[in-house]
Amino acid sequence: MTREFAGYLRKDGRAGIRNEVAVISAIDSLNPVAAKIADLVRGSVLVTDLFGRKMGGKNHAIRIRSLTGMAMNPNVGAVLVVSLHMPSALSVAGPIAESGKDVEIVAFQDVGSTLKAIEQGARLAVKLVKACSTQRRQAVPLACLTLGVECGGSDFSSGISGNPAIGRAADLLLDQGGTVILSETPEIMGAEHILARRAVSREVGDKLLQCVREMEMLAKATGFEDVRASNPSADNRKGGLSTLAEKSLGAVLKAGSKPLQGVLDFAERPPGVPGFYFMTTPAPACESMTGLAAGGAQVIVFNTGLGNPIANPIAPTIKVTGNPFTYAQCPDDFDVSVSDIISGGMTLEAGGERIFREMLDVASGKKTYSEILGITQSTIQVLGPSV
């Protein structure tokens, strides 16, 4: 099996599967300006968040780590930071510049008008795209690849076709020295003890259990009902899921079967040792994928039983379904179907190989449907209100 993909080698030794200029809005009030700039400049990609002012403590730290993490993802060739004023621009652009990546700034209050900010931003972005476009793809070992695994719109098929097939693909990548990140803390509840047993050390296992406890406390403090009592949901039960452990085991399958190497905070990059990691994130797909991309995942494989169109702007998102009815209804939403596992006698191994091959193709430049259609959104986890 191929051990390489054609990627963009970066100064820090990591490799991108895309080479775009990220137009990052550092503050919600400049999101529309950043969007206009990204609209004008081909070869750029928009990164926004709906918050950004007057957030404190850990909330603020997560936000900066997420924005800078997405900018430092090796899929990004250079960065334009758009903000209201220079200090807020520098809080994001500073760490990016320190990483050695080319970064330019548009500070609205220094430029003086909306149209001038759009004009200046577009000029800077054009220059960055021009410079980036001289980079060529070259053969890069698969060990440079970090895969994020995601599922949404889960149904009866998720745990028996899509997720276990993605797990086979994840194992193939891990065998090549690559990295796989599983996320969505609420989705592992009920199976956390089983996952903790796969940890490489007691410390890692304990950290995983701690993540789950913290997410449960956060849920209770936010006014949610008990996750353990309200799951599986009525829909889940109708689809045949009987217990929380069964539901969560089906979700965890998509990360493969290898030892758990470490537990990451939201948007935290794995510490250099390849292997399987868990990242603590909320369950909604946009937030989860933002955490994965900021943590350095160059590609995401997203299983959906019932359908869910969203993708990450930085990490191309391969849509997979294992539900034959869903696939028949909307084949042009899925980059890979493994629905023959249910309807045509396809083995999980064959499904895993199909996903793995698509992942290699996408890593080398093949476009995903969501990339072509631009169905992307970044959203950063919020731990508390802005004031």
Binding site: I160, R237, T243, L249
Partner: protein
């Protein structure tokens, strides 16, 4: 987990240690399904209708015993479950909630 000679698979067993299988189409009461499990051909007679995506017992599971899917314990039997019986929240519950 493999199907023979291109036959349409009816039951899917996720792990050799499992004592339940997932129905890939609805089962009617009295239907007899052959399935390969841990190297042997099992003949399972559905003891009632089982909806698509739901589980059926591959062997008898006594009250309090573990229900195994994915090679892991997903719950315990709330009552004796016969081979071929529909396995769901009416006769199993989360591991921790049941006294054996």
């Amino acid at each position: 987990m493999s199907s023979k000679g291109g036959e349409v698979r009816v039951l899917m067993i996720m792990h050799p240690a499992d004592n339940v299988a997932v129905c890939l189409r609805p089962l009617e009461a009295g239907e007899i399904i052959q399935v390969m499990h841990a190297g042997k051909t099992l003949s399972i007679e559905a003891r009632g209708a089982v909806p698509l995506g739901h589980k059926v017992a591959l062997s008898q599971v006594a009250r309090g015993q573990k229900v195994i899917k994915y090679g892991e314990t997903i719950g315990r039997a709330l009552k004796d479950i016969a081979a071929g019986e529909h396995v769901h929240d009416h006769n199993i519950a989360d591991y921790e909630g049941v006294t054996p």
